[in-house]
Symmetry: C2
Subunit: 188 residues, 2 copies
Amino acid sequence: MNEEAAGSLRVLRLSHRPGRDDRMTTHVALTARAFGAEGVILPDSAGQAARTTEDITDRFGGPFAVEQVTDPQRVVRAHDGPVVHLTMYGEPLEEVLSAVRSALETAMGLIVVGGGKVPGAVYDRADWNVAVGNQPHSEIAALAVCLDRLQAGRWADRRWTDADRRIIPQASGKRVIGDGESAEYPED
Amino acid sequence: MNEEAAGSLRVLRLSHRPGRDDRMTTHVALTARAFGAEGVILPDSAGQAARTTEDITDRFGGPFAVEQVTDPQRVVRAHDGPVVHLTMYGEPLEEVLSAVRSALETAMGLIVVGGGKVPGAVYDRADWNVAVGNQPHSEIAALAVCLDRLQAGRWADRRWTDADRRIIPQASGKRVIGDGESAEYPED
């Protein structure tokens, strides 16, 4: 086990269809970053999502690692630590939460997010196949709630380094501090 | 106030670009359903997302209302109850959570999910502009975590009625009961 990485989490997006999945994969990666994962691993085909996530990290801070790999399934097989596969067919998150948290105390976890058909080998390798509700919804929603619960909300306390801009919470309207000045955030 | 609807929540998707937003809006609607909202209100242009959500409700159960409207901003203006607008510029969810929960005890809440540029009038009408982390990520992730926290996880206990099929949680693999028989869930 890599004890230096104990307690940390990486998120792996298992598959990606260029064009069709671009925004979904981008949201998976940004959700991983915002909710406390230390990095995301994307398929080679997800270059646009990788660039967008790196751009957000450059502007809003890190550290957050974006990696691209040719064979995401190989990452699952080779991972030296607990593997959590998010699937609506799995065991309810609440039932496995304390066991997963315990496993993460001594090793780096890998959270696997599907998309399209997931091979049986992934279900077999996973230490936990976890459902965030046994209903069809969204891998983005499942990832967010899973990360939130695993960390008991501690992602909210994270301090970001090397951020060019920072949002100042407002009861109404928008306030962004960027390069020492207040600025409007560009609309998408 | 409509006291019969006290404690219930509806989710409004404020804008939708056909084609580009189809999957995002579908995931917003399915996330609303899975995490305990009583219905979703979509723009007229989001017909595909509405049909997919109704199809999932037919198969996996309800009740869950899918409504389409010509003018989503009018829904915000006319809503007779607390309005929560999800935006990364807003106040941290944790800071407003107990106030929002109190307001929901006596009236139906409307959770507004943006997409594209959100007019200032929505920020002004909202009783709370709420950030699930002041970082750019995903409206789907924000909605899921907001619904989860507002209900303190009670969505997981929901019983679905008129479901043709039901997923039986498994430590590995897939099991779906449909029309009285075990069946594999079709891959997307």
